[in-house]
């Protein structure tokens, strides 16, 4: 099956500034990929390239097997939903009117409009002017707009920034639904907590370079970040830890010990600890996306992969 998005050695320069440099990326249908990076890392540029808003300086991009900035743009755009960062919809219109206008521009059956507005949880505010909407409601409206016409590819740029927890949860569950329907989702973010369970892969960008690309397990392996083992037990556990495999750091709070260990030593440590009746509980905490991201973005030059 053809990939939905294919970047081949793509670079984008603004003047002499490289916004993206030599990016290779293939995204399959139904995949959820996160674009991670600081501000200015090239996340939005990557999305604009996919949307065909700008053309690459070098290299080639294929979206649904066509060049997105070429003659196929109109056809592609009917299959793509996009939620830009910081969009302020027409203040003087109601949510329903905004969505209705956008549906007509997209050439979509307007019966979808009222069901979509219910779906994103704006049903009761549909006839209120957008001016009165909160940030979360605006973002819900933006999501409804992106969902117009049941797109096969969704691009969500910093969609959860500034959202309250309930809206964020709704947002992630929408992504989950989309994935189940086979929609490909690309989302950029710098808020990493909570996003992990919904991702297939992550692309970490730094100053336009690809710092890392892979699923969570692959990234964990590449980074070789320490694993945290949380041990609960009696006071003798300290001695037990001291005689076991080497630890990178160890901290104690009451009868709970947090050990950071090299992932390679994990099994040795577990065997060592579980032989003792002093230990009442062992928890394993693998490094999260947040740590992985910090690892890559803290020292981008030394960890660069091409």
């Amino acid at each position: 099956m053809k990939p939905v998005i294919c970047f081949d050695q793509v670079s984008k320069y603004y003047g002499k500034m490289a916004s993206l440099k030599d990016i290779n990326l293939t995204i399959q249908a139904g995949e959820v990929l996160a674009l991670l990076g600081h501000n200015g890392a090239g996340k939005t540029t990557a999305m604009k390239l996919i949307l065909g808003l700008i053309a690459p300086t070098r290299g080639s991009i294929r979206v649904f097997d066509a060049a997105p900035h070429g003659v196929a743009a109109d056809r592609l755009r009917r299959q793509v939903g996009f939620l830009p960062e910081n969009v302020h919809f027409y203040d003087q219109l109601s949510g329903l009117e905004v969505l209705d206008y956008l549906a007509r521009l997209k050439g979509i059956n307007r019966q979808q409009v009222s069901s979509l507005i219910e779906q994103v949880g704006l049903g009761s505010a549909a006839n209120r002017r957008v001016k009165t909407y909160s940030k979360g409601m605006r973002q819900r409206l933006g999501l409804a707009q992106a969902l117009l016409g049941k797109p096969k590819l969704m691009l969500l740029d910093e969609a959860t920034t500034g959202l309250d927890p309930a809206a964020t949860r709704d947002f992630y569950s929408t992504i989950n639904n989309l994935r189940q329907q086979g929609c490909t989702v690309l989302l950029s973010s710098h808020i990493l907590s909570g996003i992990e369970p919904y991702l297939d892969r992550a692309l970490i960008l730094g100053q336009g370079h690809c710092l890392a690309l892979g699923n969570l397990d692959q990234l964990r392996q590449q980074t070789n970040l320490p694993l945290t083992v949380r041990v609960t037990g009696s006071s003798h556990v300290s001695q037990l830890i001291a005689t076991g495999p080497p630890t990178e750091s160890c901290s104690q709070e009451a009868n709970v010990w947090n050990l950071a260990i090299n992932p390679a030593d994990k099994m040795a440590l577990l065997r060592h600890l579980s032989n003792s009746s002093e230990v009442t509980n062992i928890e394993l905490l693998p490094p999260g996306l947040e740590q992985i991201y910090h690892h890559y973005s803290a020292n981008p030059l030394t960890t660069e992969v091409s």
Binding site: R75, F82, Y90, Q92, Y101
Partner: protein, 274 residues
């Protein structure tokens, strides 16, 4: 085409909702009726004086107000959507940039069209009903000419506002430029031309043609050359008495003044990077 109409319809409804249409109509109607009624104030009386004086006064009012209204209405057409982020979104929809700009032009043009026709139309009816000794046929011809040329003048400045709107990155800058454009075409240009005229005692046959470089002067000429009696009040534009200054040609020149800035705006918008 359907998309153009969708965009135009949205712009027009915006114009109704934020009361642009109502405001322009009322301002034009009230000022026009006022001018017609107080036309004789200078000679110490009240009431309608002559058709020529009234039309000259109305044309002067239109020359000042209509470019200003058009520029204010349209200066943020593109840059405003860019600032709110909707431009980026709209451009990811299946519509071309030209479609977006032309749709907006149609919508804004319609707002101005309805407001001008209503405003001056109401004034015309009030004059016809209220004034004594007025030749209704002449009044009708003059008012239609005033309305049509005002529409063209308004569209010229909408096109110029778009050119500004696609050329800058901030709304405030667009507003500033719009005011400068208004200032140049409505005030500075005529003063400069007057200075030239005074400076060149002999020759200067080419001077009248310079008037064609200013759409507001074209507008004045359209409304004044039609009236023999108005020659006495036509001021600077009286230097133009030539067949090239017939209303038909002048309207054509106004059309050129719409097409050129609008085309430039379309070109610039296409190359506009995001």
């Amino acid at each position: 085409m359907r998309t153009i109409i969708t965009i135009a319809g949205k712009e027009f409804r915006d114009g109704l909702r934020n009361r642009w249409v109502l405001a322009i109509t009322v301002v034009l109607a009230v000022l026009a009726v006022g001018i017609a009624y107080f036309g004789a104030a200078a000679s110490g009386g009240l009431g309608f004086t002559s058709l020529a004086t009234t039309i000259v006064s109305l044309a002067t009012l239109a020359v000042v107000l209509i470019p200003l209204i058009a520029l204010l209405l349209a200066y943020d057409a593109i840059v405003g959507e860019q600032e709110s982020g909707t431009l980026l979104l709209l451009l990811t929809y299946p519509l071309s940039r030209s479609t977006l700009l032309l749709g907006k032009f149609l919508g804004h043009g319609l707002i101005l069209g309805v407001a001008i026709t209503l405003g001056f139309g109401i004034a015309g009816v009030v004059i016809a009903v209220g004034a004594e000794n007025v030749n209704l046929y002449q009044l009708a011809v003059s008012m239609v000419r005033l309305i049509v040329s005002s529409l063209l003048l308004g569209w010229v400045f909408i096109a110029m506002a778009y050119l500004i709107s696609v050329s800058v990155a901030e709304k405030a800058r667009a507003a500033g430029l719009a005011l400068i454009v208004w200032f140049i075409f409505v005030l500075v240009f005529d003063l400069a031309l007057l200075a030239l005229l005074v400076g060149s005692q002999q020759g200067g046959d080419w001077l009248p043609y310079l008037l064609l470089l200013n759409p507001t002067d074209c507008f004045r000429l359209i409304n004044l050359t039609g009236l023999e009696a108005a020659q006495a009040f036509s001021g600077l534009t009286s230097i133009a008495r030539n067949s090239a200054f017939q209303p038909g040609w002048l309207m054509l020149i106004l059309l050129v003044w719409i097409v050129v800035p609008l085309s430039l705006a379309l070109l610039r918008f296409r190359r506009h990077s995001l």
